[in-house]
């Protein structure tokens, strides 16, 4: 299936292992789900790669310039822009953003509201804070029980609790917002 998209190059920020690269993705010829050629460039690296998308969400990659090395990488989007990749039995996290998103992220780090989310599905067994409480970074906010274990969800930042969205006994999904912390940074 050829898609309508896939003409010009696309530029994305890709962060893997703590390093962010500005990657240019450029299709070479028509884009087809059964196998397409792309040129990828970042810093002084250039790869030409033959890629096929598999039903599982995995990508099959063949790199002609590297002795036709064949690889399979599983990809799963855990949150918008956040990917969990599987490479040769190992897990890798990747973050893909564009320029606008990156600025938004930087601003959030400087100050503002931080949504504290459930790291896994579970049940809220204790709330350790109330709206208006002042918290230090790393301080426990909520205790979520999952798989017979209690897990304390800690504050990512120093700040004031501006909102509490979970209550004891709630069943929460992974990624559900539990508490919002307002930090005192400056924009």
């Amino acid at each position: 299936m050829a898609t309508a998209a896939g003409r010009g190059p696309v530029r994305l920020y890709v962060e893997v292992a703590g390093e962010r690269r500005l990657v240019t993705v450029e299709p070479v010829g028509p884009v087809d789900s059964d196998g397409s050629r792309f040129t990828l460039r970042w810093n002084d690296t250039t790869y030409e790669v033959d890629v096929s998308r598999l039903r599982s969400g995995a990508l099959s990659l063949i790199v002609p310039s590297a002795g036709h090395a064949s690889h399979e990488v599983t990809c799963h989007e855990t949150a918008p822009g956040e990917l969990a990749l599987g490479v040769a039995g190992r897990h890798v996290r990747a973050r893909v953003t564009d320029g606008r998103r990156r600025r938004a992220v930087d601003v959030a780090h400087a100050g503002g509201n931080h949504a504290v989310v459930a790291p896994m599905p579970g049940r809220v067994v204790r709330m350790l804070v109330e709206p208006g409480d002042t918290e230090q970074a790393g301080q426990g906010l909520v205790v979520v029980e999952a798989m017979k274990m209690e897990n304390e969800v800690a504050s990512p930042t120093a700040g004031v609790i501006s909102e509490v969205r979970a209550a004891v006994g709630d069943s929460v999904e992974s990624g559900a917002v539990l508490v919002v912390v307002s930090s005192e940074g400056h924009d």
Partner: protein
């Protein structure tokens, strides 16, 4: 699933019971009949004896296999089954009582002439602090305070000196009463540098007990088994014969029937000490099946129906090749092995020569938050240990679980660790080796692999954006790559 498979091979119809969250689990769909027994919380379903017995009666089932979790070692459940006219596929309730209680089992072992780890009887609540310390001093340090009803490393505290005895007892008692509903504890000497070996036995109702070649389960994280194998590299033919004789002596002394496992600690000089007995099928039974060719679950069912054991003793004690088992949990090894339940979006299970994967999950399955997070047991067999390790590494690399995080990267690291490969390890090896990593990621990538990850992430984002635009759908909220697609003029 393991039990269902045995039933089907024997032509025995099966009934599965399930809790709310397991409605679509493979074992429910594959069974010949399935009965809902209540909400997801174990206490209201899988631990509810009355509902399970009613389910059996309602479907006309004649026997119950208790599996290896929940009620598998529960004497009251065994009694309830028999009172309801059902065959309980396991030992007699009285035997579960005797061997399931750790101090009673130790007493039975001493009576049968089997060496035990130095320790005490259950400590009565009325002992004063001074008396507790005196008893601990007699046992010697370091020691464990252990729950009489314990298992899985819970209700257990290490105590290194007299000053720590009282606090250790209190902590173990409180953990034991939460975990097992019974706070009784006892002292047991901690023997250092020992390995965990265990002997599988089958006993029939006609007085025959057959011991099997040992399994070694020294690769443990916080007293939970992670990798098991058979045979053990540390067991000589003489030690194997002695272990088997001890296992038979103790099993026969208590008239043990059906499948059970006797756990021992083995020191560097080949001395062994009885630890405890598991009065059920164990998770790691598959390695024994792989090296002996005996189907233990089928035998459990046959024994429960009064059949005589015809397993050849020599075959049972003479391993063919070597087998390893890895328990694959939904947990994040880079976050201190925190449970990581969620939905498995895609799955490719390992297969090929010498690989067995006993699994209860599949693509689309939501790993429930209510139960143990083990998603499968991968077993690899090869003519020798080195071959089995290579095969296991191959199998785990092939295993793709998308959507959740698994401990596979950590398993691959252990399988490549020099101490594991050489066979020079004891039960403390894994915890020490993990501590020495100081939290370093198990997923360190080479430069080439990092490039590969960068390419895959960029291409995945590219395709996601192209899909969105190609369909002309502008989903519920803008994702970064939809932004990216727009910014970069994909719409032109």
């Amino acid at each position: 699933m393991r039990i269902l498979r045995a039933c089907r091979e024997m032509g025995v119809p099966s009934v599965a019971v399930y809790s709310e969250c397991d409605r679509t689990a493979p074992h429910v769909r594959q069974a010949d009949a399935a009965v809902a027994i209540g909400p997801s919380a174990p206490a209201e379903s899988y631990l509810n004896i009355g509902r399970i017995v009613d389910a059996a009666r309602g479907t006309g089932a004649t026997a119950i296999h208790p599996g290896y979790g929940f009620l598998a070692e529960n004497a009251a459940f065994a009694r309830a089954c028999r009172e309801a006219g059902l065959v309980f596929i396991g030992p007699e309730a009285d035997v579960i009582d005797t061997m399931g209680g750790k101090t009673a089992a130790r007493r039975a072992a001493v009576d049968a002439g089997v060496p035990v780890v130095p320790g005490t009887e259950a400590l009565v609540d009325t002992l004063s602090d001074d008396e507790l310390c005196a008893r601990a001093d007699e046992v010697g340090y370091p020691l464990f305070v252990k729950a009489v009803a314990g298992g899985g490393g819970r209700g257990m505290r290490r105590v290194a000196e007299t000053d720590a005895v009282v606090a250790g007892v209190e902590a173990a008692r409180s953990e034991a009463s939460t975990a097992f509903g019974e706070s009784a504890v006892y002292f047991e000497r901690l023997l250092e540098g020992t390995r965990h070996v265990e002997i599988q036995v089958l006993g029939d109702e006609h007085g025959t007990v057959v011991p099997f070649v040992e399994r070694e389960c020294s690769i443990q994280r916080r007293h939970q088994k992670v990798i098991e194998e058979s045979p053990s590299v540390a067991v000589t033919l003489e030690v194997r014969a002695a272990l088997a004789a001890a296992a038979v002596a103790l099993s026969s002394a208590v008239n043990y029937t059906n499948a059970g496992t006797l756990e021992f600690l083995l020191d560097a000089d080949g001395h062994f000490y009885f630890l405890e007995m598991n009065t059920r099928l164990q998770v790691e039974h598959a390695v024994t099946e792989m090296v002996t060719g005996v189907d233990l679950v089928q035998w459990q069912i046959r024994i429960a129906h009064g059949e005589r054991l015809t397993v050849d003793r020599r075959q049972a004690l003479t391993p063919v090749g070597h087998a390893l088992e890895c328990r694959v949990y939904a947990e994040d090894p880079d976050a201190g092995f925190m449970p990581a339940p969620g939905r498995i979006t895609a799955l490719r299970s390992p297969s090929g020569p010498g690989v067995r994967n006993d699994s209860g999950v599949e693509a689309g399955f939501e790993v429930p938050v209510f139960y143990d997070s083990m998603i499968s047991k991968v077993v690899a067999w090869a003519p020798d240990r080195a071959g089995a390790i290579a095969r296991m590494r191959r199998a785990l690399t092939e295993y793709e679980v998308v959507g959740i995080t698994t401990a596979i990267p950590a398993l691959l690291w252990v399988l490549g660790h020099e101490a594991f490969v050489s066979g020079r390890f004891d039960t403390t090896f894994l915890d020490q080796a993990l501590a020495e990593r100081h939290g370093r990621s198990f997923s360190d990538l080479s430069a080439e692999e990092t490039d590969l990850a960068v390419m895959a992430a960029a291409l995945f984002a590219y395709f996601s954006a192209a899909d969105t635009l190609g369909r002309g759908v502008d989903g519920t909220g803008p994702t970064p790559w939809r932004h990216a697609a727009r910014l970069n003029g994909l719409r032109r």
